[in-house]
Symmetry: C2
Subunit: 200 residues, 2 copies
Amino acid sequence: MTRLTRSESQALTRLRLLKSARDLFRRDGYAVTSVDRIAEAAGYSKGAVYSNFEGKEAIFLAVLETESEENLGKLLKRLDRAETLDAVVDVLAEWADERSKSGGWSLTVLEHARVAPMGSASLRRQEEIVRAQWRRLGAYLLGRFPGVASDGEVLGALLFEIAYAPALTFVTAPGAGALVRFALPPLLARERQGELAIAG
Amino acid sequence: MTRLTRSESQALTRLRLLKSARDLFRRDGYAVTSVDRIAEAAGYSKGAVYSNFEGKEAIFLAVLETESEENLGKLLKRLDRAETLDAVVDVLAEWADERSKSGGWSLTVLEHARVAPMGSASLRRQEEIVRAQWRRLGAYLLGRFPGVASDGEVLGALLFEIAYAPALTFVTAPGAGALVRFALPPLLARERQGELAIAG
């Protein structure tokens, strides 16, 4: 058996707690998930939770941040492999279709927003995490397609909000991908806009 | 006191029940709102509810349909008064900002989608109501701006989903209106696309 250093063991505890918290928040939502349940699911005491996090809100925000970074990281890698504008649109449309069917997590974020007092530090933190994602995706796309879409944060927001759009979780068609394929090309493709105008 | 005919009195009962149901669904969500509570809030017996509706799902769907028609009707009237493309974009951006802050109702629709069994008649009905809205808004816009945006249902879906986008309920900026102003003009304005291509 591998012996862990004290700091390795602490990092492992934190990781396991975050994983259990993520699964519970996604499945049961924000209100129902308690520090007790997170500790139990991870196989630790409540004390272990409190030596790593201030409380449920702090765990929730840590999960949100970790999840956001992981998901965006994967998306940007897929985008890196897409060589043309059409391929980029394909990747984003597929990602939006996947996201819109993944459920759970985005409802939990809304639930937290409903529970957290207006203007509270945790709501501000949630907003920061969400907007940082939007800006990173937008900046990436504008870096690759320096076109007419000048506001990266709005471009990122548009794509994320289509991907997590409420009705797309239960409507069979059109899907989130169809919306991305519809809205994105005219925002990214300068030349194509010229073609369309001429064709008209 | 005005005497009501039997059918007037029935219509009034139905109207009052729908109004109470709407308020409760919006405030408390789908699960918590019961036939008992709806009857009580409207000042009727449970029997009065069942002589008008098959049950909670039927009331919910009737409220959804009534609300959708009312809201879309108001929006189309506002659009009728907007004379230019810019004015139409303004109306839609303002509408999206209002919708995204109106909360409650869209969460209830999601909750119903989570509770209703996959492929059930009520889920199919909810989808029909939602898509009918998308098609009507899309057809209206394409009727006025016969441009490059060829798919009315997708155009309507895009606008509705921006208006009800999840993060826009708690993020302070950019708002839903900013997303509409960003995404819509290139989809509706043929000539403007020409200008942009030339300006680039």
